[in-house]
Amino acid sequence: MLDKFANYLKNRLAITQEQAEEAVSCLKIKTIKKGQILLNPGDLKSEAYFVNSGLLRYFSIDEKGKEHIIQFAPEDWMMSDRDTSVFNEPSMFYIDAIEDTEVVIVKKDFFPAIKNIVPEILELNILMLHNSIRFMQKRLNMLLSATAEQRYLDFIKLYPNLTLRVPQWMIASYLGITPESLSRVRKDLAKKHFK
């Protein structure tokens, strides 16, 4: 199913349905079962993933075996590891599927290759890059300066339905707090808002 990615491009570029369909026609779809790993540390894969359905997770594992979640990618999100997808260096991270997931594989050469069909695509690529940097800047600031509650409130704004799809410990890992702190935050919010 490539029409979701075609729509994604169409909604961000001044192009026709036909141009969008032609642009994505060369791309491949991949389905991944819940729990299956898409990228391992050490892998060299010059590709990014657009999520058609399901949910991906981008994370590292430290020396003590603890997981640290950098990013979630639900439907309509793109996910990639820049080391391998841009710089041809081995990845240091994992990408796995938290739910049964279908992705469009966007190879590194996709954007240059289709610039003849859609010249604006290079600008979109730059905009997406800026957006990604903005996201990481905000996230970094949250991790350095925000309280657990502020981090949680920011999280539910960005990913409203993930609280229904992801176990508590994964949300805690993303927020850089313990599951106990997350429980406390949720309990405090309930005290404030439950009538």
Binding site: N161, R165, S183, L189, K191, F194
Partner: protein, 289 residues
Amino acid sequence: MKVKQVSAVLNPPAPHMVGDGFRVHNFFPSGYKLKMSPFFLLDYNAKIEFSARNQPRGVGVHPHRGFETVTIAYSGAVAHHDSAGNSGIIYPGDIQWMTAASGILHKEYHEEQFSKKGGTFQMVQLWVNLPAAFKMSTPKYQGIKQSELQKFPLPNGGGTIEIIAGTYNSVNGSATTFSPIEMYNARLNKDADVNFSFPATYNTAFIVIEGKVKINNTEIANADQLIHFKNEGEEISLFAEENSVVLILSGQPINEPIAQYGPFLMNTPEEIQQAIADYNHGKFGYLEE
């Protein structure tokens, strides 16, 4: 009065796990596309043996809004806790009717002693939709013990009809409902012959929990099969080919738009977004894992 014809006799769809405590066949809405409003979902945990375990299996804290969950125990035992402060254990023959309405958090686990011993487990869980006017009403909990269930003894030792909701032969059911619903457990001895009458417009299905039955003198249904009826005619005859237990469901459809996401069942996408936001902000209360 005309006979209400069978539209299909359906095998249970492939099972999936809900948490680690319920291995369910989802007859609808995903297993089969059936007209069953006001019943929105039917998960049938067919008989399964659980090994003994100290840490009870089940489903952790999760929210609901906009409907009711009805759990009917046939074998095994389930403990329930919710954010409105209700808790209870249901044993074989008991009913748990939880009105989530404006919002509740709950958790469901195998009861401790059952979990420690292990054994046969068989349950039905239904999601019963609420009319728009009651979707945001106060949550409610009805725990109905087997001994408290209203019953109609069939003549000639044919068995018993347990009236969970609605009315059978002038006996009113034990649970109160927000729209017209008929729900019975028919516990039939071999050769019992029972008749039911539901309005043609009511959506109707029988689930054979045990045994083997013949419907309207024609269709045979075995244990674990669901019999779905057409919206024509009123009269149904049920004959027990063997000692049988049959769950009878019939209800007046709620003709309102449906918007569903995960554990929320509302009328519009905006109400779903609101439910997610309210849940995230703690407006459903709090319940310890």
